[in-house]
């Protein structure tokens, strides 16, 4: 009978966490707040991101509670507008965009390429401070009245009609944007300049390729949304007229600028998640990722195509029919590289020695949910069906399948996969497998009914709805409570594992990445001596030979 797990832990009676590591090197709050170590900054990000995730999650809970009944009875309709706006702002700018890159990317990219740190450690720390400044400003705006434009700040609503905290919320997103640009810039420079000897481009783990593509997007697209926000501010404060038809401007121009960033931002969010899935699928199938080069280039292709499709968010907004035709066609193209990834992961599984540890369960969840999310995107990319479905719950379900079902599953997969490396300890396997399954079930209960609601015509962003939609909304709210349990469980057992988890050892998953060939938790310098990449990426035979050699040395 084959083994049901690949986990190999050291003898727990003798195993110890290495005394010298990045966590123990210095103590005190200042050693964290002034650190240049990419691993510590990643942990700072992990804590702060989780904080914002639960605030955004609580707002989602309020939305779902309000929608339990057809009437707007839990809160005033104005308040409801503010709640869904802040849910979107916090989840997108302060969780999804930085989630995988700022935590796992920060922690792992230098280790995966065999470097001591990122190229610009101080810029890395600055990016966390900017992130916190933006995040706290967003919370301040929420506490002082909130904003009700929707996370898209759409003009002319945001410039002419609402009197809420548009400026401060815009400023919060603006500041967070710079945090994102700095992270992207740091990754690009690091990947170009700091690879260990032998680490050629085609030996890079696919996690690194995915982050490289996402970083290019961060650097090239984010400034455009920053400019768009500045123009909204200028329009509101001094009425420059760029979005005002009475002065020769055009409100739709804002949407062009906004979506020029915000569509690629979807790929900023999802590409790093895809990087995680490549690593996890390979490790738990014990196989090199099928079509490595195709998967690597599909990341780049997604990044490039992602720039040419933004107007599909605007098909019903009054843009030209010809532009609709062109953008609809281009939107179909971006489905191709995404599908390349899904097919290649599936082929990686074929004849692999698959085991079902928690990261793999989350990865399977990602593959299924992202595929549904992606394919329903095709419905929305076709202009005919888009006219019926846009601004309904179908679109809400679609992007939650991609962002929550895809990205959040990938984030949780990655957190579990690299938890032993980050902390030196294992999380408890059984309860975490349960949490992964609960998340999957809760997610489908929450969001699948929304596809049906949207098809039936229930519009998004309203606190009340016709009574015939109630049953599906009750399903959705009930599902959200299950989903909430699925997200709370990891927090509890991961914190528990910091003290009581089993000692993980260097490489509990028998994975091939350079990050697994050093101690857990790693030294501040990552490696005792500079690693040399003398084997192929995902080379499990090399790993076995290496382990055999170590055994021989130990027995001798």
């Amino acid at each position: 009978m084959s083994e049901s797990t690949i986990v190999k832990l050291p003898d727990q009676s003798t195993a110890r966490i290495p005394k010298m590591n990045y966590l123990s090197k210095e103590n005190g709050i200042l050693s964290w707040l002034l650190t240049g170590d990419h691993k510590r900054i990643a942990i700072l990000y992990l804590i702060s991101l989780s904080f914002f995730f639960f605030i955004g999650g609580a707002l989602a809970g309020l939305i779902r509670l309000e929608l339990l009944t057809p009437q707007a009875d839990l809160m005033a309709t104005d308040t409801y507008n503010k709640v869904f706006t802040m849910h979107g702002v916090i989840m997108i700018f302060f969780f999804l965009v930085p989630s995988v890159p700022a935590t796992l990317g920060n922690f792992l990219i230098p280790m995966m390429i065999g470097a001591k740190d990122l190229a610009l450690p101080k810029i890395n720390l600055l990016s966390w401070y900017l992130y916190m400044a933006g995040g706290l400003l967003a919370l301040y705006t929420m506490a002082t009245g909130g904003v009700d434009t929707g996370w898209t700040f759409t003009t002319p609503l945001s410039t002419h009609y609402v009197n809420t905290n548009v400026l401060t919320t815009g400023l919060a997103a603006f500041i967070a944007g710079f945090s994102s640009i700095f992270t992207g810039l740091n990754f690009i420079v690091t990947i170009h300049k700091m690879r260990a000897p032998g680490m050629t481009w085609f030996k890079l783990p696919l996690f690194v390729w995915a982050h490289y593509a996402a970083s290019v997007l961060m650097v090239l697209a984010t400034p455009v949304v920053a400019i768009a926000i500045v123009l909204v501010a200028l329009e509101r404060t001094i009425g420059i007229g760029v979005f005002d038809p009475t002065k020769g401007g055009d409100p739709i121009l804002f949407q062009h600028l906004f979506w020029f960033y915000s569509h690629p931002a979807v790929y900023i969010m999802i590409l790093p998640g895809m990087g995680v899935i490549s690593e996890v699928i390979s490790t738990f199938s014990r196989k090199r990722v099928f079509g490595y080069t195709a998967v690597a280039f599909s990341s780049v292709a997604i990044a490039i195509f992602g720039f040419f499709v933004w107007a599909h968010h605007m098909f019903i907004m009054g843009i030209s029919n010809y532009a609709v035709l062109v953008f609809s066609l281009l939107t179909m193209l971006v489905a191709v590289p995404s599908a390349i990834k899904i097919f290649n992961w599936t082929f990686t599984l074929y004849k692999g020695s698959i085991t079902f540890e928690t990261p793999m369960i989350y990865a399977f969840g990602f593959m299924g949910l992202f595929t549904i999310g992606g394919l329903t995107g095709v419905f929305l990319g076709v202009s005919g069906t888009d006219i019926h479905l846009t601004e309904t719950y179908f679109i809400v379900a679609h992007f939650h399948f991609v962002m929550v079902g895809g990205m959040l599953m990938a984030f949780l997969s990655g957190i579990h996969f690299w938890w032993p490396k980050m902390t030196g300890r294992m999380y408890p396997e059984k309860i975490s497998q349960l949490a992964a399954v609960v998340t999957f079930i809760g997610f489908n209960f929450t969001f699948f009914p929304q596809f049906i609601l949207g098809t039936l015509g229930m519009p998004r962003r309203y606190a009340s709805y016709p009574p015939e939609f109630q049953i599906l909304n009750v399903f959705s709210t009930a599902g959200a409570t299950i989903l909430g349990v699925g997200y709370l469980l990891p927090v509890l057992y991961l914190v528990w594992s910091l003290r009581y988890g089993k000692i993980a050892g260097n490489n509990p998953w028998q994975a091939t990445g350079l990050e697994w060939q050093t101690q857990s938790p790693p030294l501040t310098e990552n490696f005792v001596k500079m690693p040399i990449m003398d084997h192929d990426v995902y080379d499990y035979e090399w790993l076995e030979a290496q382990q055999e050699k170590e055994k021989e040395v130990a027995s001798a």
Binding site: I252, F260, F308, Y322
Partner: protein, 110 residues
């Protein structure tokens, strides 16, 4: 000779820090000031549709000078130049495809 060394270092992928002479900086500064003055002057002359064209042409020329000389891109590696070109390419995409919408709005139904 020193230029040859700099080229050799470029070829090896090392950073050669090119020192720009104060004279070059002064000339570029002068060109920028002339550009600014011309922009102000041109804005007072009624050239019809050509007013924004001239203003944008001067602005683009000035931006190019800043990028090439003040930001040292003229003396940087090909990778840096490619990075700058990527930014310009994305900018042109933004402008071009947005204009495609504006221009074709009057064409009606297809």
């Amino acid at each position: 000779m020193s230029e040859q060394n700099a080229h050799a270092q470029h070829a090896e992928g090392k950073h050669a820090h090119h020192i720009v002479s104060p004279k070059t900086y002064a000339l570029i500064l002068l060109a920028l000031l002339v550009g600014t003055a011309t922009t102000v002057w041109a804005s007072y002359v009624d050239l019809g549709i050509w007013n924004p064209v001239i203003a944008l042409a001067i602005a683009c020329t000035k931006a190019t000078l800043v990028v090439l000389f003040f930001m040292h891109v003229k003396y940087s590696s090909k990778l840096t130049m490619l990075t700058v070109l990527a930014g310009i390419f994305m900018f042109l995409t933004l402008i071009g495809m947005t204009l495609a919408d504006y221009i074709s709005r009057a064409w009606g139904q297809w």
